[in-house]
């Protein structure tokens, strides 16, 4: 369970009126696929950076499975970091390490011995369907394959939650569909909570169970995807729904 309570973030050059986050509260239930949607500038990135402990909130807190992370800072909070596997927008793989070294990296950081590391890597490569790319370097992979490596790497420490930042924005629609079905498979097989931060309503529609709509640093709407998208209450949700042709990625199975 991830609980965000009254989370605010005002950057140095901001006033309280245009703060990045203005008291955001919501919770993500264990095992669900949760969507966080909003336009650029809505506060999505700030929220991600707080969850990743790259940024400290001005006020409020975040609890991950009962452990408070706010204020831990970027050099601390190892246990919570292990609990949260993060897939960043640009994949952020280590270019000088092979696919298997990349996936093993979080385990290597924790001093897990090599034999155990390799066993985990083999299993994860199979899960993401890249067993034949173990010795390849990231530069040799396609965007979709890099995303799969990033997902495998985020799962390496056996986290309880997986957090993905715009996981599909760099991918074409066919690749997007295959990544979404992989996420669904991970959610079903491993009971991992998945949080997807996105601006694409199609992504939320196709795999999320619940969604929060973020606008100018506030959660303006939250609920089940069917409720929020069939009876949108806030202008922002309506805008997101109607702004442009919604790409339907289908229901991956």
């Amino acid at each position: 369970m991830i609980v965000l309570s009254n989370l605010s973030k005002t950057y140095a050059q901001q006033t309280e009126d245009n703060a990045a986050l203005k008291g955001v509260s919501f919770e993500v239930r264990p095992g669900e696929i949760f969507g966080l949607i909003g336009k650029s500038g809505a506060g999505k990135t700030t929220l991600l950076r707080i969850l990743a402990q790259l940024e400290t909130p001005t006020s409020g807190y975040v609890d991950v499975n009962g452990v408070r992370i706010a204020g831990v800072g970027k050099h601390g909070g190892d246990e919570v970091k292990r609990q949260l596997g993060i897939v960043f927008q640009n994949f952020d793989l280590l270019m000088q390490k092979t696919v298997e070294q990349n996936i093993a990296f979080p385990l290597q950081l924790r001093g897990i011995e090599k034999h155990e590391r390799m066993r985990r890597v083999e299993e994860l490569l199979k899960l993401v369907g890249l067993s034949d790319k173990a010795k390849a370097y990231p530069a040799m992979l396609s965007g979709g394959q890099k995303q799969r490596v990033a997902i495998a790497r985020a799962l390496a420490s056996d986290p309880s939650s997986l957090l993905l930042d715009e996981p599909t924005s760099a991918l074409d629609s066919v690749t997007t569909r295959s990544i979404l079905s992989l996420l669904k498979e991970i959610s079903e097989q491993r009971k991992v909570t998945i949080i997807i931060i996105t601006h694409e309503i199609g992504v939320v529609k196709s795999i999320c169970q619940r969604v929060a709509v973020l606008d100018e640093g506030n959660v303006v709407e939250i609920g089940s995807v069917s409720d929020v998208f069939t009876r949108p209450q806030s202008p922002m949700t309506r805008l997101l729904l109607g702004a442009k042709e919604v790409t339907d990625f289908g229901n991956p199975s």
Partner: protein, 216 residues
């Protein structure tokens, strides 16, 4: 035949003082380069004062002409090596001159490492030393290797200059045996040897840097 032996001997001296200077200057200069990266405003440990002061020292040291530096630090050289003349003595000014150069060249290489990658690794719970080792040094390795070649070639060039002040090696040989005795052929031979060393060095390091670069 005697010339060949002398040139070989001088080449050996040049390689000896350059290599020792290169190794020592990296032992000190690389950590300084890392310190510059860590303390910059968006680094792992932002420390504006440390970064600025260190940057000044490095730049000031770099702006002193080698010949002047060599003369200025004669007392230091004598204190460290027991003498200020000869091949081994030349190691002191060569190293001192190379340290700030290494610091800046390494800093530039490390700066190329993607900031997003560092943040991603931080979010995994990496310790600072793990980030330095696995991310900064490992990701920047091809660029760092090219920096080593650049430094080595610079040191060889300066070592020839040190030769003018009794430093030994090819530079000393070219001046004392060639230039002072109006033996231009000998000067040309010596220069050719230096050119060959530099070309060999650059080619080898370029090859290695390319071989270990997996970014493309």
């Amino acid at each position: 035949m005697e010339i060949l032996r002398d040139i070989l001997l001088a080449t050996g001296e040049t390689l000896y003082m350059s290599l020792v200077s290169l190794v020592i200057s990296y032992l000190i200069g690389l950590p300084l380069g890392i310190l510059l990266i860590l303390t910059q405003s968006d680094g792992l440990f932002p420390r504006k004062t440390v970064n600025t002061v260190l940057g000044w020292i490095v730049d000031m040291a770099r702006s002193v002409p080698f010949i002047i530096l060599m003369i200025l630090i004669v007392p230091v050289t004598r204190w460290v090596m027991g003498t200020a003349i000869g091949t081994t003595a030349a190691i002191v000014p060569l190293t001192l001159c190379a340290i700030p150069f290494v610091a800046r060249v390494s800093e530039q290489s490390l700066k190329e490492v993607d900031k997003g990658t560092i943040e991603a690794v931080l979010a995994m719970g990496a310790k600072p030393w793990q980030i330095i080792l696995h991310v900064y040094l490992n990701e920047a390795l091809p660029s760092l290797v090219r920096g080593i070649a650049l430094t080595a070639i610079n040191i060889i060039g300066y070592s020839a200059m040190a030769g003018a002040l009794g430093g030994g090696g090819l530079g000393n040989y070219a001046i004392t045996e060639g230039y002072y005795r109006y033996d231009t052929t000998l000067v040309i031979y010596t220069v050719l040897v230096i050119v060959v060393i530099v070309i060999l060095l650059q080619t080898t390091f370029n090859f290695v840097a390319k071989k270990i670069n997996h970014k493309k």
